[in-house]
């Protein structure tokens, strides 16, 4: 059995999946499309009638919209981890997931990027955030974390799109050969006329290596910068040095959970069981377990910092989170993020797809809640008791949150039918490597 012939099965199955949309896909498309429309309608209402439609108040000026921003940027992170970091480490199980994880990254950043704009209220002046020369000589304040965020998220989006696209070029050329007519022409143009010559492969290999090397530091830096939106302030509960690693670990945890949530149904509905083996899911489950341990550790350290630190406000803030009006959400986040993933110490749990799917959803419930508790509890209970107050979201914010999930799944469903969901050429290479190691040519 030669590598190429084994590889042609991957090619047939993955490209075959592009051609036949089933009823489940159409139903999913309809539901997520409606939610995406809801998002835009509600955003339109916020633009016309103002942010008074949200539950924002004084003191809680950042809430669900910012929670969603942090959540979706976090989701993006494990895509880069799987595609870039695991590439540099030569982890084999990566080939099953890297394409869908990269797509997830791009879509999550797109959705995340909407939220600061929604939260602006006057979205038509968003360009104030960008550095551009005007006659008034006013530039963004580069000492503030908010312009760092603009640069971090924009860089992350562009680099992720380039990485996603470059990884797909040889596969788009294959898709062109499999699909007749206009669709074939579109794939041909997208593949930029890739022919797989020795010269093209030589430069391509270098390019891919460099992109992976450039994207790897972004895994650590983007969510660190997002965390500094909070940590650079002096609000109790936000002003701590552990925030950057805390956010990065949480980001990878939630993103890995989202990879499970997306890829387990996709594997089944597109009939890709043979190309996404359970062993590879076990690898992903180990990443989930490891990052969950990191997150659990930071929960403990955070508590230690507040209890043993000098500030009574920090101590009071921590007690407020654990026993105040948001206590239910606080304990939910502890259970979902730090306790339930411990089941993955059992090999059976790591290899059970139904459990991994459910766990993926629960972890993301926990991670969303974590960001909510972190943002809202700190603002609602800072230094001065006179300025304390609580917040709860209105139906506009709940609708926009649901709509953001709709938009994300809409993008992903379209991706799963329009583009090759598994990296075909890389899988062929991996199969050839394995065949070579087993001694068959």
């Amino acid at each position: 059995m030669t590598g190429t012939r084994v590889g042609s099965e991957v090619e047939r199955d993955v490209l075959g999946a592009i051609r036949r949309p089933g009823w489940r896909w159409l139903l999913g498309l309809a539901v997520s499309g409606l939610l995406a429309v809801l998002l835009h309608v509600l955003w339109g209402a916020l633009i016309v009638r103002g942010l008074g439609l949200t539950g924002l108040n004084n003191p809680v000026g950042w809430a669900v919209l910012i929670t969603n921003f942090v959540f979706w940027v976090g989701i993006a992170h494990s895509g880069t981890l799987i595609s870039a970091v695991l590439f540099l480490f030569r982890a084999r199980f990566r080939t099953s997931f890297n394409r869908s994880a990269e797509a997830m990254t791009v879509f999550a950043i797109l959705v995340a990027g909407m939220f600061p704009l929604i939260h602006l209220g006057r979205v038509w002046v968003f360009y104030f955030l960008l550095p551009y020369p005007i006659e008034r000589l006013i530039w963004p304040n580069f000492r503030s974390p908010l312009p760092w965020d603009v640069f971090a998220v924009t860089t992350y989006l562009i680099v992720s799109v380039v990485f996603f696209y470059v990884g797909m070029i040889p596969d788009l050329a294959l898709a062109r050969r499999h699909l007749p007519g206009l669709r074939g022409r579109i794939y041909a143009v997208l593949s930029l006329g890739w022919q797989g010559t020795g010269e093209q492969w030589r430069h391509y290999a270098r390019l891919y290596l460099f992109l992976a090397a450039f994207a790897t530091p972004l895994v650590a830096s983007v969510h660190s910068i997002v965390s500094w939106d909070f940590a650079v302030s002096i609000v109790p509960g936000w002003h701590t040095t552990i925030f950057a690693p805390y956010f990065v670990a949480g980001a990878i945890l939630s993103g890995t959970a989202m990879v499970l949530t997306l890829s387990i149904p996709m594997r089944r509905w597109l009939g890709l069981e043979a190309h996404m083996p359970i062993d590879h899911y076990e690898g992903i489950a180990k990443i989930l377990l490891f990052t969950s341990l990191l997150v659990g550790y930071t929960y403990v350290v955070e508590q230690g910092l507040s209890l043993y630190g000098p500030s009574p406000f920090e101590r009071d803030q921590y007690a407020f989170r654990a026993f105040g009006p948001y206590r239910g959400l606080f304990w939910l986040m502890v259970v979902c993020n730090a306790i339930l993933p411990l089941t993955l110490f059992l090999r059976r749990a790591r290899r059970s797809l139904p459990w991994l799917f459910v766990l993926g959803i629960l972890v993301n419930v926990g991670m969303w809640t974590e960001r909510f508790v972190l943002i809202v509890a700190s603002l609602s209970h800072d230094f001065d008791p006179y300025a304390w107050g609580t917040y709860s979201p209105t139906r506009y914010e709940i609708g926009i949150t649901a709509g953001s999930f709709g938009l994300f799944f809409l993008f992903f469903l379209l991706f799963s039918r329009l583009l090759p969901v598994i990296a075909i050429t890389e899988s062929k290479q991996a199969l050839a490597d394995r065949a070579g190691e087993e001694g068959t040519p």
């Binding site: 000589l137 580069f142 050329a173 020795g198 830096s221």
Partner: protein, 144 residues
Amino acid sequence: MTRLEFDGREEFLARLRALVEAGTPPERIRLQMPFEVAEAAEILGERPGAVRFFALAGALAGFGTGLALTIYSVVSFPLRVGGKPIVSLPPFLLIGYLLTILFGSLGAFAGFLLLARMPSPRGLAADAELADRFVIVVEGEEGR
């Protein structure tokens, strides 16, 4: 012109090695491959290629742009806040770092397009062939 096709990577590499050892000049050999085989470039004695220089140039340009933008903007509108220096390097280095990554990636991508001659009109033609097997083409053997 001789055209040889192979299903497996190992036989392809063995034949390529034999060709080069038999004295065929590497510049007369053209390859097509369904996936990357690093050994093929080694056998032909090819160097890693110039994408790295584009990446380096992009990265340096990005770092320079980041520092120039931030320093120029504070110097052109000096607003001293909290007694801190006008040129606050730690946050400015952050912008420089992000633009290093951005420009470096875009530079590497642009370099790849240039070096691999893409978008390629020949590759976009309707009858362009794409490798699903390993192909070795030895050009211009008339003199041998």
